[in-house]
């Protein structure tokens, strides 16, 4: 077993993790910053290559934080704590300026104004960005400042000391070796839960969100005593049929129409009615499709440029392969797999505007944290905030030490799992079955009976987990991933069953409680692990000036 020591340990070197490393070392160049990254840090994470927009920027004189707060609340059924979203919007313009300093390109119009697009119900917060090398730029800056990446290592357990964070145990996803890192502070930045259900295509990894993100951080935090919220926010997006790549915002904000099968326009020019697409599907008016053929050639070129260079360059191959030319053909959209994520939805580790969790010394940022629909802006802003807080915490708090017995327990479990002898379940099949059952029982339309049926599967899978044949370090890492998916699914079941109302359209629609019930349910549902049992509770929504209840 490997033993490391550091001041700030970051779990996940994606958008939030890399910028946090950068910020921590800017504030205190002597800090020891270590990053466990499940893949290879250079390109790992949701922005493997580039991104076409910074989705939330409050540009002075045009929009402001208050307006953003109103917009995000309206888009989230009101279930949004005020301070985190407000702080994010307040810091967003400084972030854009900082990114320009790295050389990131934000296109401007003839008048020198940033190109903005309407993605929220009010205000043009979405700001165009044109940077296919964003991730590589970010990583280089973090490493040049002295951050130390430990690649191909995934965090599998947090270590605590009398309730305070004390470090983490990681697993090398190729060799299967364990790495123990003692740390004064830990930042979880491991992204959302992307492999939650199966995509229509049947290809396990053909999901919208980065498939390396399997909810590991949610489970790490839960076990350490923090709460998770929004787990009933089981969302799915209408995406390009089969490839599951996004393009809705890119096209619609540039003038494309979204039509149902009868040719009725559901959206045009603004992404203002995503739910109408879901409704069209449920009512049998799908599939919906995006029409671009009415747009001038230059607009189509602009859209092609974005799709084929920054957002997901492989789009060109996909459309080419199917013979789809935007000048002539519409783009079919289908809702496919469900996922949980604080970047696009509401699911995440409970955090406040300081990126703190309920566990002292433990922070969370990005898609793994509960700041509503924060997108890339949130990952960056809260990555920075978490780093600033962690530096302060390290300076103020005495050293900690975890208990050897906790490490030994992880080691024993690891040894027990790392074997194929006498076991007859293949890891890919296990994953497929888990994700199929999640899709059968835990997504809309939901009802109490389905949740009770899930309990059978939850218990069955817990037993099956011990019977998965593990032939290599790589397969072992998959087993830990699926275990985390299962725990996230359990949280979703607990929270979904607890919230006895319907809210957020198709995201949480209960057949047995079809109406929205603000009197009883305009609150968060927070799940915590109490005496080994996942326990839901209602937590009030906080306003500006009030503390977020963690």
């Amino acid at each position: 077993m490997q033993h490391l020591e550091t001041d700030l340990l970051i779990l996940g070197g994606g958008s939030a993790g890399c910028i946090a490393a950068m910020r921590a070392l800017q504030v205190n160049p002597a800090l020891r910053v270590t990053i466990f990254e499940k893949s290879d840090i250079t390109y790992g994470g949701s922005i493997a290559r580039g991104m076409d927009a910074l989705n939330i920027v409050a540009i002075p004189g045009r929009t402001d934080a208050q307006m953003y707060l109103e917009a995000v609340r309206e888009m989230s059924g009101g279930i949004v704590d005020a301070a985190p979203s407000h702080v994010m919007a307040e810091r967003s313009y400084a972030l854009l300026k900082e990114m320009e300093g790295w050389g990131v390109k934000f296109p401007v119009d003839e008048n020198g104004q940033y190109k903005t697009l309407k993605y929220h119900v009010k205000g043009e917060f979405q700001t165009a960005m044109d940077e296919p090398e964003l991730k590589a730029m970010l990583v280089k800056r973090a490493l040049d400042l002295g951050a130390r990446p430990v690649n191909r290592v995934m965090g599998i357990r947090l270590l605590t000391d009398g309730g305070r964070i004390a470090g983490a145990v990681g697993l090398n996803v190729r060799t299967g070796q364990l790495v123990v890192c003692r740390a004064k502070t830990v930042l979880i930045a491991s992204g959302g839960v992307s492999r939650f259900t199966l995509p229509n295509s049947g290809y396990l990894y053909g999901v919208y969100d980065y498939p390396g993100n399997t909810g590991d951080g949610f489970v790490l935090a839960l076990r350490a005593g923090a709460g998770v919220t929004g787990m009933e926010y089981t969302q799915r997006t209408a995406l390009i049929k089969d490839s599951n790549m996004p393009l809705l915002a890119i096209c619609v904000t540039r003038g494309a129409k979204v039509l149902d099968c009868e040719g009725t326009v559901l959206m045009e020019g603004e992404v203002n009615n995503i739910n109408a697409m879901n409704v069209a599907f449920t009512e049998g008016r799908g599939p919906v499709h995006i029409q671009l053929s009415h747009l001038p050639e230059e607009k189509i070129r602009e859209i092609e440029h974005i799709l084929f260079t920054t957002e997901r360059p492989v789009n060109e191959r996909f459309f080419g392969g199917r013979g789809i030319d935007f000048r002539k053909h519409d783009i079919e959209l289908w809702p496919t797999e469900y996922y949980l994520c604080g970047g696009h939805g509401l699911a995440g580790i409970r955090v406040n505007e300081r990126a703190e969790t309920a566990v002292p010394g433990l922070y969370a940022a990005g898609d793994v944290a509960s700041v509503a629909k924060q997108h890339l802006t949130g990952a960056f802003v809260f990555g920075e905030i978490a780093a600033e807080q962690a530096v302060k915490y390290c300076a103020e708090q005495p050293d900690t030490m975890f208990s050897e017995a906790d490490v030994e327990a992880v080691r024993a479990e690891h040894a027990e799992r790392f074997s194929a002898k006498g076991r007859d379940i293949e890891i890919h099949e296990f994953e497929r079955k888990v994700r199929r059952m999640v899709a059968d029982y835990l997504v809309s339309p939901k009802n109490e009976y389905k949740f009770s049926l899930w309990n059978y599967w939850s218990e069955t899978f817990a037993k099956d987990l011990r019977n998965v044949a593990v032939h290599s370090g790589h397969e072992l890492s998959k087993l830990y991933e699926i275990e985390n998916l299962l725990t996230c699914a359990d949280c979703s079941a607990v929270a979904g069953s607890f919230r006895k109302e319907s809210r957020w359209g198709e995201t949480h629609r209960r057949g047995d409680y079809p109406a929205r019930d603000d009197a009883n349910w305009k609150c968060h549902v927070v799940v915590k692990l109490k005496d080994g049992v996942l326990t839901p509770e209602k937590t009030p929504i906080s306003e500006l000036g009030e503390e977020v209840i963690l």
Binding site: M1, Q2, H3, L4, E5, S39, D40, T42, Y43, G44, G45, A48, R49, L143, D144, G146, R148, R152, N172, V173, R174, T175, Q177, V179, S201, G202, Y203, L204, Y205, G206, V207, Y210, P211, G212, D242, S243, N244, R312, P313, V314, R317, F318, G321, R322, H428, S472, G473, H474
Partner: protein
């Protein structure tokens, strides 16, 4: 070979493994070409041969430099083991790898002898005792990882033994020694000559010490050259060592140097010592299908000085290595393509999605 999601152009692929290193889903592995599998320093001959054949000498030299800082010495020694493993052996004689190395060492010396890119300074110090092949290798490897390195050599000059004729071989040419010494200096390694260093005294002064004194078999070393505490040993100063010749000595220092780095960086000594698994390398998988029907091409004898002959010889490379998709976990995100120096990899959308 069946590939669902990635298509490799096997006539250009260098088997360099860049795509494997960067794949974000751990989806790829390199099926090693035999030369890289057997070369004691892990030199990727397929990459070198193909680049030389294409006239891209500077890149070829870089591929050599990436695997070893001592391409100059290697060219002088020759890489017999790698040559013997070459699949061309059955078809007109194995590739003249040594001659191609000589060509690169002489025409691309700025690259072959370039100082390493040193990682962010770690603040840790290491002493290397002895400056024979093992010592040089250990010093360079530890230095590249960002640690401060001092070499202690008892003689009045660096690497004295290399300047002498060795068992059955010529001494290393003077210019190779000079350029190697200059590279050591440019890497920021401190060299102290004329002092017989005392390992236990240095152990107190440095964060780690590695003894590579080249003879005596005096150190009882465990796995990865660990003697005790922060003291390590490599090469024929280790009891029971079967090291013969400069190349073997150099190679034997690699695991020990890796262990020193692990030690300095806080890892246990065995961390990622299973280099193959850690780096996504798989064993040579036999002749590539495309090569099986190729006509025999006889070996072109050259001492590495005649350009046309060198290029023709390099062009005989069959390209036995290539990346393969291992676990069908591709997210079609394309970093693998971005880092491929010859556009040999193309990600196809998985069949289920096409």
């Amino acid at each position: 070979m069946f590939d669902s999601n990635i298509a490799i152009n096997t006539t250009t692929c260098l088997a360099c493994g860049n795509c494997v290193d960067r794949c974000i889903m751990d989806n790829l592995r390199v099926a090693l070409p035999p030369g890289r599998q057997t070369s004691p320093l892990g030199v990727n001959y397929q990459g070198i041969m193909r680049l030389v054949a294409a006239g891209r000498d500077e890149e070829a030299a870089r591929e050599l430099r990436r695997r070893t800082a001592f391409g100059g010495l290697l060219a002088a020694w020759g890489d017999e083991k790698a040559e013997r493993s070459c699949s061309r052996g059955h078809r007109g004689g194995s590739l003249a790898m040594g001659s191609v190395l000589k060509w690169l060492a002489s025409t691309q010396s700025a690259v072959v002898y370039s100082a390493p890119e040193v990682r962010h300074p770690s603040g840790k110090t290491a002493a290397v005792i002895g400056s024979g092949p093992a010592g040089l290798q250990a010093a360079m490897h530890i230095r590249e990882r960002g640690h401060a390195v001092t070499i202690f050599e008892a003689a009045g000059r660096l690497s004295p033994a290399l300047a002498e004729p060795s068992r059955g071989g010529d001494p290393i040419p003077q210019d190779v020694l000079e350029k190697t010494a200059a590279m050591i200096e440019a890497a920021g390694i401190t060299v102290v000559t004329g002092i017989k260093a005392d390992a236990s005294a240095l152990s107190a002064e440095f964060d780690a010490v590695i003894v590579c004194t080249g003879s005596g078999a005096e150190y009882e070393a465990g796995g990865y050259g660990h003697v005790s505490g922060n003291l390590f040993a490599a090469g024929s100063c280790v009891k029971g060592s079967a090291v013969r010749g400069g190349l073997q000595a150099m190679a034997s220092a690699l695991p020990a140097a890796r262990a020193v780095c692990s030690f300095l960086e806080g890892f246990e000594l065995d961390y990622e010592q299973d280099v193959r698994t850690a780096n996504g390398l798989e064993r040579f998988q036999g002749l590539p299908e495309s090569a099986e029907d190729l006509p025999d091409a006889p070996r072109i004898d050259t001492d590495g000085s005649d350009e046309a002959a060198v290029r023709a010889e390099a062009a005989r490379c069959l390209g036995c290595g290539r990346p393969v998709e291992r676990d069908m976990t591709c997210w079609y995100c394309l970093p693998c393509e971005v880092v491929c120096p010859v556009q040999a990899i193309r990600v196809r959308i998985p069949y289920l999605i096409r």
